[in-house]
């Protein structure tokens, strides 16, 4: 299972500068956990009390996971996950 996770530019200091990290996992949660095991510490930036932080949005193949099953949404091989800061627009 290979899932590509896009890292927003200012967060790449936590991923050794990588724009895309490949992980495996069966759900969004699993993929993000795998990201954290490669780059320990990134979870604390993405999550608070087990939930995605208020100002972080996660997209699975361009769809906001809040409109899917959230962190429990299943992911398939080749899926693209994007972590995108929510403080934009308006």
């Amino acid at each position: 299972m290979s899932i590509r996770i896009q890292i927003p530019t200012p967060m790449r200091q936590h991923t050794e500068g990588k724009a895309v990290v490949e992980v495996s996992g069966a759900t969004v949660q699993g993929a993000l956990d795998a990201l954290n095991s490669q780059y320990p510490g990134i979870s604390s930036r993405l999550f608070e009390n087990g939930q995605v932080r208020r100002f972080v949005n996660v997209y699975l193949n361009d769809e906001d996971i809040r409109y899917l099953d959230g962190l429990a949404t299943p992911v398939k091989d080749g899926a693209e996950l994007a972590i995108i800061p929510a403080v934009a627009g308006g």
Binding site: Q6, P8, T9, P10, M11, Q13, H14, R45, L46, E48, R53, R54, F55, V56, N57, Y59, D62, D64, R66, Y67, A82, I84, P85, A86, V87, A88, G89, G90
Partner: protein, 418 residues
């Protein structure tokens, strides 16, 4: 000039500080960044008489805006009228209403010229040559016009089903306009990816901390125009939910630097029922909004389903003792007509939202009838004419004959003899 009163940027959640840079979120917790000012120095540098001697535009309050030196974009923006709206007040059954009329803001007839002039002045300071935005229309017009005047290249991304007039009033300025098949929130997500990939200055993304500060000038001007004081109630339309917080911040900053005595004022947020994530949160007592996936309203300029400042907007309404309310499309159109007929002001659909919500809050008893109310009108009705077509009488068509004209005035008034 100019002394620099900006210390840097600061995360609104954890307080981590950053230098002045084109970055909109904290790399620790993704919290929004906000400009951090040295208010003590500003209090020493600024006085009522100093402000009053300056030209009537938003830069009267330049010490409280985050640019270094003189503005290089939008030197004439702001300074819009605060209109005493007695005929509207009578129609609403209240004693005192004022309309802050940004429908006549220069150059693109919406309050967005305020935020854009700060953002693009800042973009130049940072050395960007290409700027852009995600927009529901008004911002598109403003970025395109102000970028053209400043000689910047502009990429404007909007939902593909926007009003035709808003497309035209963007393309005319030579901007590259891209209609995206999707909602505003999808456009916004794409722009966030573009901004960081291409390193461009997106006014409402990586320049957002600076951009958003421009909205404070609506509040600064209201207070000055009332004779250096705040009204008791302000009704503000909400899309991303930023403006309501910035008008609130403006009153508090004026008090902090000694230009007014008391910043207290109740804030009411207005949305369309077809896109009401923030008012729904307020009515249900939620701390944060839940996004609306597919907004559906004639008030397209307010159609943001996942407002970036929803959380902060809820907080302002809750903490000031205000409230949030939303109105249907027919109520919006009727309120546009009411404002036009009573005050001679043609506001866009968002203005209809504001007036209709004010009426609803007054009727509910949430806004008392004997206190002072300011309505923020943020855009011009010429941009959204289709919304009211079905609510207005078609013009009578006659032959050029007095005989055919006379029945049209029958009973309305005595004929004037010349």
């Amino acid at each position: 000039m100019s002394a620099d009163f900006v210390r840097g940027l600061k995360c609104r959640l954890c307080g981590k500080t950053y230098p002045k840079e084109p970055l909109n979120f904290c790399t620790e917790d993704f919290g929004p960044l906000e400009v951090d000012y040295d208010y003590e120095a500003i209090a020493e540098a600024l006085s009522r008489s100093k402000v009053e001697l300056r030209p009537n535009n938003m830069w009267r309050f330049r010490e409280l805006l985050p640019i270094d030196g003189e503005p290089t974009v939008g030197a004439q923006v702001g300074g819009t009228p605060l209109v005493r709206a007695d005929r509207l007040a009578e129609a609403l059954g209240v004693e005192c209403v004022w309309v802050k009329n940004d429908a006549v803001n220069f150059p693109t007839l919406s309050f967005k010229d305020r935020v854009v002039s700060v953002a693009l002045s800042k973009a130049r300071e940072f050395g960007f040559h290409t700027v852009g935005c995600a927009s529901t229309g008004n911002l598109a017009n403003s970025v395109a016009a102000n970028a053209a005047a400043a000689g910047l290249e502009a990429y404007i991304l909007v939902p593909h089903d926007l009003e035709r007039s808003k497309f035209l009033a963007t393309s005319i300025y030579g901007a590259k306009v891209v209609g995206v098949r999707g909602t505003y929130d999808e456009v916004n997500r794409l722009c966030t990816q573009i901004a960081f990939k291409y390193g461009w200055g997106f006014v409402n993304i990586n320049l957002r901390p600076f951009y958003a500060e421009g909205s404070k000038t609506v509040g600064f001007e209201i207070a000055e125009q009332l004779g250096w004081r705040t009204p008791q109630h302000v009704v503000v339309p909400m899309a991303g939910g930023s403006l309501i917080g910035k008008v609130h911040k403006a009153f508090h900053e004026l008090a902090k630097v000694g230009l007014i005595d008391d910043p207290s004022c109740k804030f009411y947020g207005a949305q369309a029922t077809g896109c009401n994530p923030i008012t729904t949160a307020v009515k249900n007592g939620w701390e944060n909004h839940r996004p609306v996936r597919k907004p559906n309203t004639i008030a397209k300029s307010l159609a943001i389903g996942d407002p970036a400042d929803g959380y902060f907007a809820c907080k302002v309404m809750r903490e000031t003792g205000g409230w949030g309310e939303d109105v249907s499309d027919p109520e919006i159109a009727e309120a546009m007509v009411l404002l036009g007929k009573t005050e001679g002001i043609f506001a866009e659909t968002a203005g209809g939202v504001t007036v209709a919500v004010a009426r609803k809050l007054i009727d509910q008893g949430r806004i008392p009838r004997d206190e002072e109310i300011v309505l923020c009108i943020t855009g011009n009705g010429l941009k959204t004419q289709d919304a009211v077509v079905d609510y207005l009488d078609r013009p009578a068509v006659i032959n050029p004959s007095l005989e055919e004209f006379e029945p049209l005035v029958e009973g309305s008034r005595e004929p004037v003899l010349v």
